[in-house]
Amino acid sequence: MTPQVLVSLLMSAVGSAAGAFAVEQARVLSVSPSPAFWVAVTLYAASAACFLLVASGRLQLRALALGLCAAAALAHAVDIGWRGTMRVHPAQSVREALGFLAFMLAAGYLLASLRYRLSLAGVVLMPLVLGLLLVARLTPAGEDSLGLTALGRVHISLATIGVATFALASALSVIYLMEDRTLKKKRFDTVSFREKGAPLEALDRTMHRLVWFGFPVFTAALILGLVWGSERGAGWDRPEYPLAFVTWGAFASLLVTRTAYGWRGRRSAWLTLLGFAAALLVLLVYLARRVGS
């Protein structure tokens, strides 16, 4: 799958989700976004466009794309800070958490870019960040956020951090799979070859370190989520439970197979993607419930 196809798929998925939520805008409450938020959205969009051009072969736009991303992340941080002064916590609700997740992705990507050429990851991540941000903006805040317990907040914070880590790991997995394919199929004229991205071994290693960090955090979030759910008297038949366990299972088996059998590379990359996809579905379930309630 070429990066362009991936991106357009992502964009269309995000677009339809955003459309569904747009009609619910009337129910949006809480604090309206600061101008910095819209600056960030514009800059992320510009950065995403630049990365697409880079992927289509205009490698010289790379610096511009990264610069735009950095500026966007800065504006985003300003918005989060400003909301903080309005007593809106990043883990106040799924909606805030989504925005925060987007921020962590952008920041993590920028940090990783200091070391490696990761334009291909940018092609995947920037639209994702943009989409998360818009989805977060267009989702109703939900009434129960007012009665959020400390347990709930910790659950949301940890889950956000865990999923953000997994998201970065999946971005690296996507690059890994693309570069692996390029080398195996000997496609020496493609962008992923000419771009001279991060070496396969480094990608694999970083991906694993991220999972090692994200897995305990996510596990803790999972347990706290269960406790929180049972406190509120929620049933066991909620669809996010099996999905969350798919995520947990994917990453758990990744770590086990790596440690016990030395699995790595392609197999690990696919497991990471499976886990992250399930995590995204959990988030979509939450959002759908908000809209439906």
Partner: protein, 491 residues
């Protein structure tokens, strides 16, 4: 100020059989260069002698004869008859020479376009020439500009990107898989010449350990000694494969040596740690199917070649861009050179004019010191002085203009008009003259008419000048005239 020239031969014009005859050893170069600048007409020179080119960059009074002298000098150095060198030696003068130097420095003229080695060689050749005092302002400026151009071409184009030979491509591919190669180990299977080269490249890229294995243990030992590695028995192949990150294979076997069953074991033993196989043997040593296994990256000789070709194509594209940069810079450099050429003329012109002004003022001051002048007289004297200075300065140009005819006259009238920004009114009577050519003739006539208007004053100045005929001023003036005349003719 001399003119630049280039004399030499390169891989473009001469096969190695001829290049090697002319090539100079490193220790010979300083002596040769100092002899070169002792040649008549050669002011500055440097000699660059590499395996792909032997060239002299020089500055001479006039490029053509200086280049010819250099050519003869080079052949005499090696006692080579002209027939031997045939058409191998080329020479460039002036603007072409500048372009050539820029192209060479930027590696646009190299056998492998963009190969950076030449810049270092050129820098050291320039250093050597400087040490024996063979460089001067023109060559210095040209070379320094050439280094600047080379830097621009390297940074603004992708001319030096991508490995350009099979061995470095193997290294490049290895870095795609492993990143840093330090701590990686290499296994050389079979002891061919190509594998030696590739192993050397990998060694210089930082790999830690090189193991050589071969059916004949003796050959393995030999090769291992040559590339600073260790030999391993052929029977241990599977174990060695499991321990290696990069495998270079070039056995003479008819059947694949690296087979799927072996590699299934090997990858499992390695816990699927990535490994790269470079199969440069023909017929191939590796079963293509092992490239499908997880963590195995297999490249055969065609794959490597494909990368080389792609990189070279990329470089060729970049070279076009580089050529545009060279052209732009060469034009700028010529502008600078021309500026340098005209500097002495401008200086002489200024000196001459201020000399006239100074002399006349001095004369007047002397006269005024002899007796008291009334204010009116003083004003008149000042008026007279300025007129006199103007006329004296213009005397020679006017005379030259008057005495010239035909095309020369036309050129001079145009030059004077342009230089002084004159607006010459059309002389009406000139147009009535039968057969008078419009334009030049008319302008000349009007100049003549203008001159006759103040013939009286001219006569005065002429008398003045006659009185100073043997004075230094007159000599300077007439020398200037001769020089001016030459300039006009060239223009």
């Amino acid at each position: 100020m001399g003119e630049l020239f280039v004399v030499g031969m390169s891989w473009r014009t001469a096969p190695v059989a001829i290049r090697e005859k002319l090539a100079f050893r490193e220790e010979e170069v300083p002596g040769v260069v100092s002899h070169l600048v002792a040649q008549p007409g050669v002011q500055e020179a440097l000699l660059i002698s590499t395996c792909n080119r032997v060239e002299v960059y020089g500055v001479g009074d006039a490029a053509e004869p200086s280049a010819r002298a250099t050519r003869a000098f080079l052949m005499a150095q090696r006692s080579l008859p002209p027939s031997e060198l045939g058409n191998a030696l080329y020479q460039h003068h002036g603007p072409q020479a500048v372009r050539h130097v820029f192209r060479v420095a930027s590696a646009l003229d190299s056998l492998v376009v963009g190969e950076a080695q030449i810049l270092g060689q050129l820098k050291s050749a320039y250093g050597v020439a400087g040490q024996v005092g063979a460089t001067g302002p023109t060559l210095a400026r040209c070379l320094e500009r050439a280094f600047g151009v080379a830097k621009r071409v390297r940074s603004e184009t992708s001319i030096a990107r991508g490995a350009a030979n099979v061995s470095s491509v193997a290294v490049e591919l290895a870095t795609r898989v492993f990143g840093d190669l330090s701590g990686k180990s290499v296994l050389v299977v079979g002891a061919g010449k190509m594998s030696t080269l590739a192993a050397r490249h990998l060694r210089s890229a930082g790999t830690e350990r090189i193991v050589v294995t071969n059916r004949s243990p003796q050959r393995a030992e030999e090769l291992a000694a040559k590339i600073d590695g260790v030999a391993a028995p052929w029977e241990d192949l599977t174990a060695q494969l499991a321990a290696a990150d990069v495998v270079i294979s070039s056995t003479g076997a008819r059947e694949p040596v690296l087979t799927v069953p072996i590699f299934k074991k090997v990858t499992k033993a390695r816990r699927w740690k990535p490994m790269m196989i470079v199969d440069i043997a023909v017929p191939r040593d590796a079963d293509p199917a092992i490239g499908e296994l997880d963590g195995v990256y297999l490249f055969d000789i065609d794959d490597l070649d494909k990368v080389v070709q792609a990189n070279l194509a990329e470089r060729a594209k970049a070279a076009e861009h580089g050529a545009r940069i060279v052209e732009h810079e060469a034009v700028q450099f010529e502008g600078w050179l021309r500026g340098q050429e005209v500097v002495p003329t401008i200086r002489a012109l200024r000196d001459q004019c201020s000399h006239v002004a100074e002399a006349e003022t001095q004369k007047l001051l002397e006269a005024m010191s002899r007796r008291a002048y009334s204010p009116e007289e003083r004003a008149q004297a000042m008026h007279h002085l300025t007129q006199l200075i103007v006329r004296k300065i213009l005397h020679l140009p006017t005379t030259v203009l008057r005495s010239s005819e035909g095309e020369t006259l036309q050129h001079r009238v145009e030059a004077v008009t342009a230089m002084f920004g004159l607006t010459v009114p059309l002389a009406a009577p000139a147009a009535d003259l039968p057969g008078a050519a419009p334009g030049a003739q008319g302008a000349a006539d009007s100049a003549r008419a203008l001159a006759s208007l103040d013939d009286e004053l001219e006569a005065e100045v002429a008398a003045d000048l006659a009185a100073e005929e043997r004075s230094p001023l007159a000599r300077v003036a007439s020398g200037g005239a001769a020089r001016n005349e030459r300039r006009f003719r060239e223009a």
